[in-house]
């Protein structure tokens, strides 16, 4: 019984970390932000080539044949660097939507009642409606896009649209389990939140070490120290929950992981902003991007209210 990563898992994480550092370092991220580009097809292809989307497809189907624990490591890295795009949806669509596994298709998700992220970039949508999973593409997608209303998005790297659910929402994906897909989506989003929470902890600590006020690094003051300590506690508890849920794939454990990771991402971003003081309130600092993304993700796949209810229902089973 050990949470330690295997050598293969370490190598996988190092690989994606290198890829992201090369393709989506801070300068590229800020350039994408200034240009308002959310999905870069070239990078999408590289992610596909690196196995980001096909990771859990069996090797017989051209995939990498790995599991949720490995996916979680990748999504954590994506969350750290604020990588935009419908990563979770495309990953979940691998095998069900042509080109998704290879990163040749961008697949977004349509979750009734919630705005659609990255609609303009999407080649297809997976449509979650109860137990059934459908794919919206081609004419149906074009009709849906025509009827969509753009939303001025809180997160500048996540364009949003309000859509009306199409009358003919495409064919069901055979064998797909909507509840399972939603759980996996929640877990992968939780992994992104974890990456963000860990990153804002690093940012706060780095700032607290360097920034001087009243003749000392602000990190020498207990008030700042304790903010940072609680950030680490939140991130580490979220990490534990996310990794364990990835191994067991237990629904209650996944709900707990999403709940704790959402909270860690949101509260750590806020505390990071507080540690940064006025500098954290500027557009130039990255902390607001983490907070906005964290807020958005907290409303996706499984909200706190949904997670808490499902965790309450689970108490019967303990």
């Amino acid at each position: 019984m050990d949470f330690q990563l295997s050598d293969d898992q370490r190598a996988l994480r190092a690989g994606i970390r290198d890829l992201l550092a090369g393709r989506f370092g801070r300068d590229r991220m800020r350039a994408a932000l200034d240009a308002g580009t959310d999905v870069d097809p070239g990078m999408w292809g590289e992610l596909g080539a690196a196995g980001f989307f096909a990771l859990r497809l069996p090797e017989s189907a051209g995939g990498v044949g790995l599991g949720l624990p490995e996916s979680v490591l990748l999504f954590e890295e994506a969350g750290r660097v604020l990588l935009p795009g419908p990563l979770v949806a495309t990953h979940l669509a691998a095998g069900a939507v042509k080109g998704a596994a290879e990163g040749r298709s961008v697949v977004a998700v349509l979750d009734a009642g919630r705005p659609v992220s990255h609609l303009d970039a999407a080649d297809a949508l997976i449509f979650l409606a109860g137990e059934v999973v459908r794919v919206v593409e081609g004419d149906a997608l074009r009709a849906l896009v025509r009827g969509a209303r753009p939303v001025r998005s809180l997160d500048p790297l996540t364009p949003l649209h309000r859509v009306t659910v199409p009358a003919a929402p495409g064919d069901p994906v055979p064998g797909a389990d909507g509840a399972r897909l939603r759980l996996e989506g929640a877990l992968l989003a939780a992994a992104e939140q974890l990456g963000s929470a860990a990153r804002t902890t690093d940012m706060a600590v780095q700032h607290a070490r360097g920034r001087k006020q009243f003749g000392a690094p602000i990190g020498s003051f207990q008030a700042v120290k304790h903010l940072c300590a609680q950030m680490l506690v939140r991130a580490e508890l979220a990490r534990t929950a996310v990794y364990a849920a990835a191994v067991t794939a237990d629904p209650a454990e996944i709900a707990g992981a999403k709940l704790l990771a959402d909270e860690a991402a949101v509260r750590n971003a806020r505390d990071c902003l507080q540690v940064h003081g006025g500098m954290g309130f500027t557009w130039e600092a990255d902390v607001h991007l983490h907070l906005k993304r964290a807020w958005l993700r907290a409303g996706q796949w499984l909200t706190a209210a949904e997670a808490e209810e499902s965790l309450a229902a689970d108490l019967d089973r303990c």
Binding site: P115, S153, F214, T282, L291, L296, G299, A305
Partner: protein, 384 residues
């Protein structure tokens, strides 16, 4: 304990309401947030209307051109203008609430005559040059240098978080005139023309995407020595004196607005069905208690200030600590009410949620405020 108003105060309120009802419908449309000249014109026109109606400088001393109103009258003014949806003080903020009172208290007769009337009439706009990149919470660490050259100071340095810099005529500036003196002792207060050569203003974009603030770069700007208010190297005291002009009224309008927002959130929740969620409903109820109490605390602080003749009570830090947190909770709750619409910047309250993030930081972080409460009110020893 008597929370009723005097007949004079009620009469003041009634006349103000009458006047607001008469003039507000005739106001032009508000300018867009990024239309700075338009905003200046709008704000100064409103100030001129206040001036003509006898409401300008309501809380200023009479000998400075003000109306010498009590803090309670000022509270009533702020409460009623907010309730009526009147324009905010806007671009006139620094002139009316900070630089002006400083000059009124510490300036020479000539300085008062030169600078105060244009503020009251809305003819001149002031901005504030206090904060610096390396001097945030620790304001006394400011580095902007002013070197004497005959009857001028030559000022170089960098300021930040300057609001309305693009449209201001004057800047109240804190500079270091004696680098050898202890931190608080070598600072002077200058009035600097924004048009002077060497002043460069660069908009500072906040996380809300707007440019309410600016950075200001000063490169050998010449400021006449006669534009110094107070003695050389006495600027820290001069500034602190002014801060004591704060009579508990700083957040009156905001608290009134927060209570209105809360009622609107309840209405929205009833409309969209989320009112049926007891978790959300009880949170709204809790915030009702919070903002009712904060409103009463505002009245309390104003009452204290009135009795002490304007010296600020200890209630300011207590109020600010709780209010800044409550305001953030209010807009977090607004996001709950909005549900998926909480990510739509065009929906009411979403931008407010972003700007509420500054409340635990600006004008003294909550950490600094807690030190103040612990040391100055509770008498706990300073940290080593």
């Amino acid at each position: 304990m008597d929370l009723s108003c005097t007949p004079e105060e009620e009469e003041f309120r009634a006349r103000l309401r009458q006047w607001l009802a008469a003039v507000l419908p005739g106001l032009p449309a508000r300018p867009r947030p990024d239309d700075w000249p338009g905003r200046r014109a709008y704000d100064t026109a409103w100030q001129r209307m206040l001036y003509d109606a006898g409401y300008a400088g309501l809380h200023w001393p009479v000998d400075a051109g003000g109306r010498g109103a009590t803090p309670t009258q000022h509270l009533i003014f702020l409460e009623e203008t907010e309730k009526a949806g009147a324009p905010y003080v806007g671009a006139n903020f620094v002139g009316l609430l900070h630089a002006g009172p400083t000059i009124a208290a510490e300036g020479t007769a000539g300085q008062r005559a030169r600078w105060l009337p244009p503020v009251l009439r809305g003819d001149e706009i002031w901005c504030q040059g206090f904060s610096e990149p390396e001097a945030g919470s620790d304001l006394a660490a400011l580095r902007t240098r002013a070197v004497r050259d005959g009857d001028h100071y030559v000022v170089s340095g960098q300021k930040v978080w300057t609001s309305h810099a693009e449209v201001a005529d004057w800047c109240e500036l804190l500079v270091r005139t004696d680098p050898a003196a202890p931190r608080h002792r070598g600072i002077s207060w200058l009035a600097m023309r924004m048009g002077a050569p060497g002043v460069t203003v660069r908009p500072l974009r906040t996380l809300a995407g707007s440019t309410e603030f600016a950075e200001m770069f000063l490169d050998e700007v010449r400021v006449p020595v006669s534009h110094r208010v107070g003695a050389e190297n006495d600027g820290w005291r001069v500034t602190m004196v002014t801060l004591s002009f704060e009579r508990g009224t700083a957040f009156v309008g905001e608290v009134v607005a927060c209570r209105r927002t809360l009622a609107a959130l309840a209405a929205e929740a009833r409309a969209n069905g989320r009112w049926d969620d007891p978790v959300l409903r009880r949170t709204l109820g809790r915030l009702n208690a919070e903002f009712r109490a904060l409103w009463r605390l505002t009245q309390w602080n104003v009452g204290e200030a009135q009795r002490s003749g304007g010296v600020p009570g200890t209630g300011g830090s207590v109020f600010k600590l709780r209010y800044s947190q409550a305001r953030q909770e209010l807009y977090d709750t607004a996001a709950e009410v909005l549900g998926a619409d909480g990510a739509d910047l065009d929906r009411e309250w979403v931008l407010d949620r972003l700007t509420s993030l500054s409340y635990t930081i600006a004008a003294g972080t909550s950490q600094i405020q807690q030190n103040i409460v612990a040391e100055r009110i509770l008498g706990l020893p300073k940290g080593r």
